[in-house]
């Protein structure tokens, strides 16, 4: 199913992308777009290539066919310098935070600024503290990363992702493994950062309930392409079996509970193991 929304204000466009790893097709004619200023959710069961999609968007891998554009630039056409220039305009939150373990919380957030700017130390310090304040962790600035809980690490990573004031924020499974309080905090932060800083957001997740409350638009991936698109309410009301199974968390359906196997009785009683 292709997306029919207007392309004029899109910040990310994926058109007819094919990609395979080791002979296994991940994407087969994938089309989607994210609009400026919106929270776009990319949903799908585990193993549908959601993280691979992020790697395509960031230019870490190139599609075999089709085009990936970010800020109107074809990612495949960029050299290393151009790719790094594009990435400076994007913030990315990794699933596990990916904080640098040899640096403190403060230095982790300061890292992109130290690498890409020559700001005087007092100004840099203020900027970092402002970002830490935005995620509620100014008081943890001097802690080492090993002293952080999973939810705190994710918030530090979020502060680091926004420290360069990006135009686009990409979240990879931001809710995975979080307790309800941390989950609520991250959810609120995604929404408030999007609204107050005017950042466009792409959230890749399989947590349907959480993201449905804040996403402006959603894409549901399955079988290497987008099988449903629209706002979360529209997706929930969809009658297609796969969409229905995923949106309502049904254990069995078009995505089977059992991995295909031989006859159960024969395997148990046949002694042919």
């Amino acid at each position: 199913m292709s997306d029919t929304r207007a392309a004029g204000d899109s910040i990310v466009e994926v058109r007819g992308v094919n990609y395979a790893i080791g002979g296994r097709t991940i994407f087969d004619g994938l089309d989607l777009q994210a609009r400026r200023g919106e929270i776009t959710a990319v949903l799908g069961p585990s193993g549908t290539g959601k993280t691979t999609l992020l790697r395509l968007l960031m230019g870490a891998i190139a599609p075999e066919l089709g085009q990936v554009s970010v800020f109107g630039q074809d990612i495949s056409a960029l050299d290393r310098h151009g790719l790094y220039a594009m990435r400076r305009r994007v913030g990315m939150l990794f699933q596990n935070g990916a904080l640098l373990t040899d640096l403190s919380v403060f230095e982790n957030v300061a890292f992109p600024l130290r690498e890409h700017s020559r700001l005087p130390e007092p100004l840099l310090r203020r900027l970092v503290l402002m970002k830490l304040q935005a995620v509620g962790l100014r008081g943890a600035a001097e802690l080492s990363t090993s002293a952080l809980s999973g939810g705190m690490a994710r918030r530090v990573a979020l502060a680091r992702a926004i420290v360069m004031d990006p135009e686009l924020l990409i979240y990879d499974e931001p809710f995975a493994g979080l307790d309800p309080i941390s989950l609520g905090v991250i959810l609120r932060l995604i929404q408030s950062l999007n609204a107050t800083l005017g950042i466009s957001s792409i959230v890749v997740t399989h947590d349907v309930q959480e993201i449905s409350s804040i996403a402006h638009h959603s894409f549901l991936l399955s079988g290497g392409k987008v099988i449903a698109t629209g706002n979360p309410a529209k997706l929930r009301a969809a009658d297609a079996a796969v969409v229905n199974q995923f949106m309502h968390g049904l254990p069995d359906g078009p995505v089977p509970f059992h991995v295909p196997a031989g006859d159960y009785r024969e395997q148990l009683l046949g002694g042919d193991w």
Binding site: M58, A60, L83, Y84, A85, R87, R88, V90, M92, F94, Q95, N96, A98, L99, L100, T101, F111, P112, E115, H116, R160
Partner: protein, 256 residues
């Protein structure tokens, strides 16, 4: 069948050597920017050098002591026990110092480098740097590579000095070689050329061991097994490369 297997193994080895050479080129391109960040470099010299100091000193002492015993046994057959100082010094400075230091370096600092970088790969830290438009080769690999190269000759010199102390301890203290002849013959026979030979060897081993450590760590599979494998491969390939280079350099020095 065996021939085909051997040729494919040879091709794989050549391809790996090519990848290592390309990686070395990439690191060399980032060495200058890394040198502009002395704090990172000093930290890595400390990690590779100072943290290996105890094991280097301990091994240097024992190697010097064993060398004195063996050399004394050989020299007394020719009535040349007084040349023990020269034999120990030349053996340590030209050969045992650089080689054993490199092997110990690969086992201590090389494995630490490989597993640290491999874990950074497994925990997405290197990917995160890439996504922040920071080249991990510049920020992570080049300082460790340079730190290893700088640390190796310093560790070798320490090994040599402690080894000579061990040789003197056994030769003069236990076996009764006269202290004056031990040191004076050493002083007159060991030339700056011998010392330079050892220095050049240790620099070459520093490049080889550091390169294998950062290469294996950087290209480790992002799993626990992958990091373990990278650590093992670091030790094996560093040891082979060190001994191969040692032969080539020794042959070149003797030839010249």
């Amino acid at each position: 069948m065996n021939g085909a297997h051997a040729s494919s193994a040879l091709l794989a080895a050549c391809a790996r050597a090519g990848r290592v050479a390309l990686f070395l080129g990439r690191i060399v391109g980032q060495c200058l920017p890394a040198l502009r960040r002395p704090r990172l470099l000093v930290q890595q010299i400390y990690n590779a050098g100072a943290r290996s100091l105890v094991i280097i000193m301990l091994c240097g002492l024992f190697v010097g002591m064993v060398l004195a015993l063996q050399a004394y046994d050989l020299l007394q057959r020719f009535g040349s026990e007084s040349a023990l100082g020269v034999a120990a010094a030349l053996g340590l400075v030209k050969e045992l110092g650089p080689v054993i230091t490199a092997l110990l370096f690969a086992g201590r600092a090389g494995t630490a480098m490989a597993s640290e970088i491999g874990l950074m790969r497994a925990t997405d830290q290197l990917n995160a740097m890439e996504m922040m438009a920071v080249d991990p080769v510049r920020h992570v690999v080049a300082p460790r590579f340079l730190g290893g190269i700088i640390a190796m000759p310093l560790l070798t010199a320490t090994f040599d000095v402690i080894g000579l102390f061990g040789a003197q301890l056994i030769g003069v203290g236990l076996l009764g070689v006269e202290s004056g002849s031990f040191w004076s013959q050493m002083q007159s026979a060991v030339t700056s050329r011998d010392i330079n030979e050892g220095l050049i060897k240790s620099l070459c081993f520093g490049v080889a061991c550091s390169l294998m450590a950062v290469y294996e760590g950087f290209h480790a599979e992002p799993t626990a097994e992958g990091v373990g494998l990278a650590t093992t491969r670091t030790v094996v390939s560093s040891a082979i490369l060190t001994l191969l280079l040692d032969y080539m350099l020794t042959a070149a020095f003797l030839g010249s």
